[in-house]
Amino acid sequence: MRATVLRTQTAAAARRPGRLILTGLAILVASFVVFGTVLVQQITERTVRDNLSGTPAVTDLVIGSPGEPPPTVADVRQIRAVPGVAEAVARASAGISVGEGYLNLQADPGTGPLSTVRLIEGSYPDQPGEIAVTPRTAERLGLSVGTTTSGTGGELTAPAALTVTGVVETAADAGYDAYAPDSAVIAWARLTGVERVDLRVSADASTEVVRQRVSAAVAGQPIRSGAEVREAEANAAAEEVGRLFILVGMFVSIAVVAAALVVTSTFRIVFAQRMRQLALLRAVGASRGTLVRALTAEGALTGLVAGVVGVVSALALGYALPAVLRATGRAVSAPGLPLATAVLVVIGAVVLTVLAVLAPALSAARVSPLEALRTASTTAGRRGIGVLRLVGGLILAIGAVLAAVATISQLPKPDQSSYDPAMPLLLLVGSGALAFFALVALGPLLVRPVLAVVGWPLRQLGPLGRMSVGGIGGAPRRAAAVSVVVALGTTLISGVVIGGTSLQVLADREMALAAPTDFEVTGNGATLPPAVVSRAEAAHGALARVVPYRKVDDATLLRGADRLGAVESGYPMSDLDVAVLPSTGDLDVAQGSLDDRGPGRIVLNSWVARDAGLRAGDTATLAVATRRVDVRVVAVLPGDGPLHAGILADPADLDRLGVPSAYTGLLADAAGAGEDGRTAGVRALRQAIAGSDGVGLTVLADERDRNDALVRTLVWIAVGLVSLTVLIAVVGVGSTTALSVVERVRESGLLRAIGLSRTGLRTMLTVESGLYGLIGASIGLVLGVPYAWLAVQALGIAAPLTAPLLPLAGLFVVLVGLTALAGVLPARRASRVSPVVALGTDG
């Protein structure tokens, strides 16, 4: 008997492999995502390790490490003299002010295995005063092979000549990089110590022996092996990858939860379709246990097939992707073949599917044998939920609330310095999962109230709308099963939309503060010659906006005679007008309003406000040296101030405080776009500076580019991950709608028989399908927005809470549209069936 029952169920699955895949599609996608994530992490880590541009691989020993007294120049000579040392390269660097720019002069042999640069033009320098620069540096500073400039740096105080002899390529080109052999760097910059010495042991010597000899030669210097140093560098890089993958792991675990939900509701519907068959088996003597076992076995089979297909497709893609990327010129390493993980993922898929199938199997096996004799159309109408389910659902809901409360209690405090987001995020995921299982359990109770609200406009549209709404409201269990999946998708996307917007606001804010414009020219502590400002203002062709400002570093705040705050040196204060710059014009504030700026009013950054104990609306006395002005705080910024200014004050107040009227710096934007516009701007500013001593130019845009790239990468990763989870949700909606339409083919037949046209039936079913989306999206938004806010807080990056209404509304519309679309094909199929056939369908 048992074997027969099992055969009836598995034979059906084998006869229709398409349905097996359709049922397990969510698990397939989940396995794909999980294993794909494992592979992507491997690819990323390997790529990071393989492309690490730190210590060359042939380095045998490294003398000196950060935090210890550095090796001296004499040490370098001693090390070179040690027998068995094939090559010893001192790593040293010196920051050099070159006319109006900055160069980072680094020691590199230029040739040989320990070199990290590659000469592409001219010759590599070998004398002090000769340098090789990177292409971007040459472009930025207007240098080329043969150019001679002069600068100061290191221990060198009087300007000395620097001649460019070559152009070199490096792994990372920051735009201010110069290279020379260590001897030349040491001699030119009058260095007495170096950062460390990289050492290669000759082929006929033992590393251990050489290590001991070096240790004896330079007593007290820490010596590490090259492998050790490389490993540490790789681990530091990999740790960043790992941190990123905590976030990835959160999304993946949500995707897995989604898949479990989808597959549970899919099985519920699949079994409901088979209710008569199951009842028949019960009627002829199959026990409940036999049915449960047969149905669970079917679930396990589904999980196995889906898991294997998912893992194999992920593996195929994991190997294809690096190959494709390499073909387009990106160095990406191939992943390994984590067989054990693959097997684990498949086992996980089977276990997850079996767990997901248990509840539907148990309730399906409870079918009364009488059901076989009853007509199918009267069985679908169970509306409420059992006491057990109600209690279970309430417990889950309470658990979700408790976990959320625990998350809130672990959120970072304003002054908390060390904060590990892993635990709160995990709690949050747990709370979200519990909330959704509570939704699964209590869903049927929620459908009708939600439907009463969102279905109201449809009911006004006539009999079709009324029937669609009635059709959903009359079968709340089915509606809940489908809607929960949509709700999950909505929660996820709204979470990413909100998180992305918050991150964007955060990034924009930080960029507006750290790099408000493309360029900054500063007098490096002195004032700018007025000619520099006027020449810059005259360069309309290359510079779009020139905003000069004054900055003092020793402003203090007083109340009466008492100095506020604990900082000895005073606060940096600037009269930069934030409204003039487009990037700072719409700066957000923590308290007060920027519109109230003016003479006698100041804006504080969050740190100064905290240190001085001032809030928006407070009054204080602003002092520079002995002069004082009474001011009112009109706004407090949520983070740092523009150009790291702690106090933003009106120019008139700076005059009253006796600050000299000459500007200390100016900000400017490039007129043209892209690298060309930037280079033109740099040239114009360099001409404006034209040999003025001590005046420096910083290209802030480069920093902004790097940060933008980081934010863009993060957003893309999030979008990629969420689109995978959304894929699961859409798969769920599609298969559930299709199955629910199949389940009701008889109902469709009846409606057609009593006079519903094909178009009418199609419209009705499509509207119903869209209604599932409407209910799900409504519940999803109600849950998703608070959870997203919590997640943003839990990340601990001090991002603001945002409510991007337009994207959320768009998301709502798109999701409802997608679910309606998911119903189009099944609705078409249902409307094509002749009413005679439909009415004759068993079930």
Partner: protein, 252 residues
């Protein structure tokens, strides 16, 4: 007993003329209807009888515009149904035909009252309040209107289905084995209601059945065998129907 009586198409509520329905093609083709001509009078209760596979259900499906015939004509009150588009047939079913099925076929998510007015809702018409009240009273559904099908007994469900078929005042009500799923008492109730609707409301009713007891409620019985008309009985009773069926079986 007469065979191949000329179809009374002129005053018939619904009539078939040389109706042929072939399922499949080639060697495996089955002629479910093989040239049937028959008319069903207005305000008349007709039963279509025959053994399984005699074509009685196919005839009813064709007459009701649920299925399209291979050749021949179907006339509903003078309107040609043959060769009409699905759209037209749908409208005809919605506005001029009522159905009662063996398995009730109520929508589980709608209440009894909503099920009754469903065809009118689809047509965008308001139910005739007097008729609705009359039907509810006659069918004894007064205290069941807000119940769902799952909360009703089989007899009650079929009475709801009857009310649904009658409330739109269709030209013809087609009943497909309406008592097949009911006990004899509930079955008798349903048949009495059908007969009363013919008598009191002037309703035309065509019923497919294989039960002589059910057929005895009808004004006339039309017999089918192998897709052909095999005889008629006027004012049938249980005995005459049973005899006719026995004779038909003997001939086969």
């Amino acid at each position: 007993m007469t065979t191949h009586a000329p179809p009374q198409t002129s005053h018939a509520a619904v009539a078939a003329v040389d109706l042929v329905k072939v399922y499949g093609s080639g060697e495996t083709a089955v002629r479910a209807l093989d040239g049937v001509s028959v008319g069903f009078g207005r305000a008349e209760f007709t039963a279509i009888m025959g053994s399984s596979g005699s074509g009685k259900s196919t005839l009813m499906h064709c007459l009701a515009g649920l299925d399209t015939a291979t050749s021949g004509r179907v006339l509903l009150g003078g309107t040609e149904l043959t060769g009409r588009s699905d759209r037209t047939l749908t409208r005809v079913r919605r506005e001029r035909i009522g159905f009662v099925f063996q398995s009730f076929n109520l929508l589980p998510q709608l209440t009894a009252a909503q099920n009754i007015t469903l065809p009118l809702d689809l047509a965008g018409r308001r139910p005739d309040a007097d008729l609705l009240a009359h039907l509810v009273r006659v069918l004894g559904l007064g205290d069941r209107l807000n119940h769902r099908p799952s909360e009703l007994s089989g007899g009650q469900q079929q009475r709801v289905a009857l009310a649904r078929a009658l409330v739109a005042r269709p030209e013809v009500v087609f009943a497909d084995e309406p008592t097949g799923n009911l006990d004899s008492r509930s079955g008798a109730e349903v048949l009495t209601i059908l007969r009363d609707s013919v008598r009191d409301l002037g309703q035309t009713v065509v019923m497919v059945t294989h039960d002589p007891i059910a057929a005895a409620y009808a004004d006339r019985v039309v017999l089918l065998a192998d897709g052909r008309l095999a005889g008629e009985i006027d004012k049938p009773d249980q005995v005459s129907v049973t005899d006719a069926l026995r004779e038909l079986a003997a001939r086969a």
